[in-house]
């Protein structure tokens, strides 16, 4: 019995090496996905973030038509990188709604003027309540929401050209 017990530390160490090696070669991504995918959008009503544009409410997100909600901000650098892709989505007829996190109207106006404005409405989420309620952990993030208000898909980070087909597919599936 003593003989067997003496090998336990080596076995434990081997298990440790295995666990660690797996994590080294297939590192866990550092993104935190939202657990709300597949669940209904929480109730909210955001005021307009910019003059002359409607604000965003959860009611609009369950009006029968699927939508793509983009959480962004003018102070967010990667958001600039995804502007062309958002334009491309808008050109394909995908309805885009925006949530501007902690933005001032003048900065937001400047951002939209510089990088394009594909949004129908832009809600002002100045205390991040809606961002937290959706399970979003940063900007930019994009959610695809179906006509009944169920969150179908989440894209974390800026939308790169290679990500556009996936989002369109998710939008089509949400119809």
């Amino acid at each position: 019995m003593r003989r067997l017990v003496l090998w336990v530390p080596l076995i434990v160490f081997a298990a440790f090496v295995a666990v660690v090696a797996i994590n080294l070669y297939a590192p866990a991504d550092r993104v935190i996905p939202s657990q709300m995918v597949g669940r209904p959008v929480p109730q909210f009503a955001l005021p307009s973030a910019i003059e002359g544009r409607p604000g965003l409410s959860s009611a609009r997100l369950s009006d029968g038509q699927p939508k793509v909600v983009n959480i962004f901000a003018s102070w967010c650098i990667p958001c600039r990188a995804e502007a062309p892709q958002l334009e491309a989505l808008a050109r394909r007829g995908v309805p885009l709604e925006g949530i501007a996190v902690r933005d001032r109207p003048q900065d937001l106006a400047g951002f939209l003027a510089a990088y394009g404005d594909p949004f129908h409405s832009i809600g002002a989420d100045n205390d991040r309540r809606v961002q937290l309620a959706l399970g979003s952990a940063g900007v930019p993030e994009t959610f695809v929401i179906d006509g009944r208000g169920i969150i179908r898909h989440q894209h974390i980070g800026a939308i790169m050209p290679q990500d556009v087909p996936a989002i369109i597919a998710a939008y089509e599936a949400a119809r």
Binding site: Q35, M36, I77, R102, R128, R129, A137, G138, V139
Partner: protein, 155 residues
């Protein structure tokens, strides 16, 4: 490898710094969400205490166990990231409105999963974790059983 500071980060006066994490941030800044600061001021209850000391104690205790979503391993009570401040404000406001800490934690876990709480729940995936101390003690006692003489009764 050197780390590159993010020039877009606004002044961060206090709290634990995720400075070395900037390296990782620099590499992943396009693929993952950004964690820079906005130009709006911090939320009211991000850095102010609740008037009721008992409620503030509850809120503080909860904050110390909620993980910051954009930091390199900090609780929101020790982080100067803006999002951490907004989460602190959320917690304080909800405690003030009468919610219990368990409810607020559950709400956050519902949205971000168990990753967001530093207090791992008691679920099948964490049974080994919570059982470990007891298991180790018994294993040690069993291993040590041969070290002791049997007590001989005084003749």
């Amino acid at each position: 490898m050197t780390w590159v500071p993010n020039p877009n980060l606004a002044r961060r006066p206090w709290g634990r710094k995720s400075v070395f994490g900037f390296l990782l941030f620099g590499l992943l800044s396009l693929a993952t969400p950004a964690s820079a600061d906005s130009l709006l001021p911090a939320a009211e209850y991000a850095d102010t205490q609740l008037p009721d000391p008992a409620q503030e104690r509850q809120a503080k205790a909860l904050m110390e166990t909620i993980r910051c979503l954009v930091c390199q391993g900090q609780a929101i009570s020790d982080s100067d990231a803006e999002m951490a401040g907004d989460m602190r404000a959320l917690i304080r406001q909800r405690i003030q409105a009468g919610e219990s800490p368990q409810q607020i934690r559950a709400w956050l876990v519902e949205r971000y999963g168990n990753w967001v709480t530093y207090d791992p729940p008691l679920e099948p995936v964490t049974w080994p974790l919570w059982g470990a101390p007891i298991l180790f003690i018994f294993a040690g006692l069993w291993l040590a059983r041969n070290r002791f003489k049997r007590r001989r009764r005084a003749s």
